[in-house]
């Protein structure tokens, strides 16, 4: 269970996140959506205490994250963040082993069980065969799977993902989110693709200019009115095989009256 109440984050005078809150319970997949610069990533970073909010409170299982030591926090919350690649030749096995770090002493060697956990985590995401490869040589889809495997090795029951489907082809996008949805953990995910959000999230929180503009089920949040206001796009919602999907078309430049929806 992750909850955030009235979280505000700012640099200097400017508030990037202004009074945002959410609550994600066990097994839920909460999607954070909103246009570029709406504060999604900044808000997500407060959830794992990488950023200290100016105001508000974030708790995991009713304990404030600000009060938890680094390793304690990492045993509860695992994160797939956006990362610029490093030059150093890390192997996939070492990458996933990092997830074991919060579980072992600073000087102790990783034991046989740590390696078993890594093997099982890689197997779970279908990447066991990649263990000895160098991370930098993987395709985008394989990289994301490995990062998810690391969160599994971390054995946290909360998972935060920041645009995990970036740079993935459509097959991998669905693959990844379906896998995440089946993990049986509390998940908060930042997503750009609204149709993915509609399909895989149980709850959506829409941010615009640092504030929440809507929250609820995908059907409640992804309304033509909201999308026009927030994204300046015309959207036609439809239900295909019981799942909400959206068809988009650009807003007419001069037209003052909303075109037929």
């Amino acid at each position: 269970m992750i909850t955030a109440r009235d979280v505000s984050v700012g640099y200097d005078e400017h508030l990037v996140v202004d009074g945002v809150g959410l609550s994600a319970g066990p097994g839920e997949v909460v999607g954070l959506i909103g246009p570029n610069g709406s504060g999604k990533t900044t808000f997500l970073r407060t959830l794992y205490a990488a950023l200290r909010p100016r105001a508000g409170l974030v708790t995991v299982d009713d304990q404030p994250v600000a009060g938890l030591r680094g390793a304690d926090l990492a045993r509860r919350i695992a994160v797939v963040a956006q990362e610029t690649p490093s030059d150093l030749p890390v192997t996939v096995a070492d990458m996933v082993l990092l997830g074991r770090a919060p579980h072992s002493g600073a000087l102790a060697a990783f034991g046989r069980d740590d390696h078993r956990v890594v093997a099982a985590s890689l197997a779970r995401v279908g990447a066991r065969h990649l263990a000895e490869r160098r991370y930098a040589t993987l395709s985008g889809g394989e990289k994301q799977r490995v990062l998810v495997a690391r969160t599994l090795a971390q054995r946290a029951d909360h998972l935060l993902l920041d645009e995990p489907t970036n740079h993935l082809d459509i097959g991998y996008q669905h693959d990844l989110l379906r896998m995440v949805g089946r993990l049986d953990v509390t998940t908060v995910v930042v997503l750009h693709d609204l149709n993915l959000a509609a399909r895989y999230c149980t709850t959506l929180v829409a941010l615009h200019q640092g504030r929440i503009v809507a929250t609820g089920t995908p059907a409640e949040v992804l309304t033509p009115e909201l999308l026009r206001e927030v994204y300046r796009i015309e959207a036609r919602p439809m239900t295909v095989d019981g799942c909400l999907q959206l068809f988009f078309s650009p807003v007419e430049e001069q037209s003052t009256s909303p075109s037929g929806v």
Binding site: A81, E83, S86, L88, V90, R116, R134
Partner: protein
């Protein structure tokens, strides 16, 4: 999974472990132990050989007896000449030990700095410490800043110069409270340039025609000033630094991948960078004070060590330290005998040996493997 109580039980996400699939745990362990063990043996064999070799060769058994006599007070009959005794005990033993310590120190400093800048071209002198040491040593030699003559005070001013430069890079790199990798690299480069200019200016402004030559010692590096004391002090500094870095091995692993990854694992990247940087700067300051700036070791050895044992710092640090020690001990042997009786500056040997390795690395770095 059956939810007992209110909260989810930990690890619900993970399927059952496969008891048979442990990623070849035993093979990994054996490989690590083999590298550390093999390199330790290589170092232990290299040390007496390196003492024995030189313009005047001394038989290895004489080396063993002289050292045994001095260190353990082994009561052996004195069968060696006084000249051999002073060569072994006063000249070469301190020099070889200092070489091992400096090689190890440069290698671990390189490992640490490459991890915290995530830049494969980072090396110990990135911190500007060599330039700082040269500048103050030049001021000391040429204008008697400090007490002037006497190697210990020269080492003292070199140390002060090295540390001042390290602190300057550190402060510049931290402007605005955030110390990013790029900023750190840029700060190091700019401080280095300013100090090199200052050194050149000092040499130019002095009347001493030999000024350039005496300053060259600090820029090219040499083990000729080794004494028993400098060898012991430097060795102790390197040992402590290794332990301090080893205690943060996991954190360095995460930092080497990225700030976001480190934060996701509950590590504060800025604090870690500050601590590692301070520890490394102190260590490199001591190395430069003892031996000047010996190039290439701190750049190349970490890469070679990574090729041997991978990027996990818990194994990488000791392997790099041992490799660096062995490498520098043998580089110094070459420096002594190639043009004997004249001695080559050590920096020339390390550059000649290091540059081809760098070419190999450049080719190997092809990300498509």
């Amino acid at each position: 999974m059956s939810a007992t109580g209110q909260a989810v039980s930990p690890g619900t996400a993970l399927p059952d472990l496969d008891p048979l699939d442990d990623l070849d745990h035993d093979r990994r362990r054996r490989r690590g132990l083999a590298w550390v063990g093999g390199l330790t043996v290589a170092l232990l064999v290299s040390l007496p050989l390196a003492v024995a070799l030189g313009p005047v060769a001394v038989p290895v058994d004489v080396v063993a007896r002289v050292v045994g006599h001095h260190v353990f007070g082994v009561p052996v009959e004195v069968t060696w000449s006084p000249a051999q005794e002073s060569i072994v005990w006063l000249l070469r033993t301190p020099r070889v030990l200092l070489g091992a310590a400096v090689g190890a120190g440069l290698a671990i400093a390189g490992v640490a700095l490459q991890a915290l800048t995530r830049n494969i071209l980072a090396e110990p002198y990135l911190l500007g410490v060599t330039s700082g040491a040269s500048t103050l040593a030049a001021a000391s030699i040429l204008f008697g800043v400090g007490t002037g003559i006497g190697s210990s005070s020269l080492a003292g001013s070199a140390f002060v110069g090295a540390l001042t430069a390290g602190v300057a890079v550190f402060l510049l790199g931290r402007v605005g409270g955030q110390m990013t990798s790029t900023r750190l690299v840029l700060a190091g480069v700019s401080v280095g340039y300013v100090l090199q200019a200052a050194t050149s200016f000092l040499i130019f402004a002095s009347d001493d025609p030999d000024a350039g030559r005496s300053v060259l010692f600090w820029t090219l590096g040499s083990l000729t000033l080794a004494t028993g004391q400098t060898a012991l002090v430097t060795g102790a500094v390197v040992l402590v630094t290794t332990l301090l870095l080893l205690a943060r091995a996991r954190h360095l692993d995460a930092l080497a991948i990225g700030d976001q990854t480190a934060q996701a694992l509950g590590i504060s990247p800025n604090r870690l960078r500050a601590v590692v940087m301070a520890v490394t700067a102190l260590c490199v300051g001591a190395l430069v004070a003892a031996s000047g700036g010996i190039g290439f070791v701190g750049l190349i050895i970490p890469h070679v060590a990574r090729m041997c044992v991978g990027t996990a710092h818990r194994l990488l640090l000791p392997v790099a330290a041992l490799l660096g020690a062995v490498f520098l001990v043998w580089a110094d042997v070459l420096a002594r005998i190639v043009l004997a009786p004249q001695e080559l500056p050590l920096g020339i040997i390390t550059a000649i040996a290091g540059a081809p390795l760098l070419f190999v690395l450049v080719r190997r770095l092809n990300p498509t493997r």
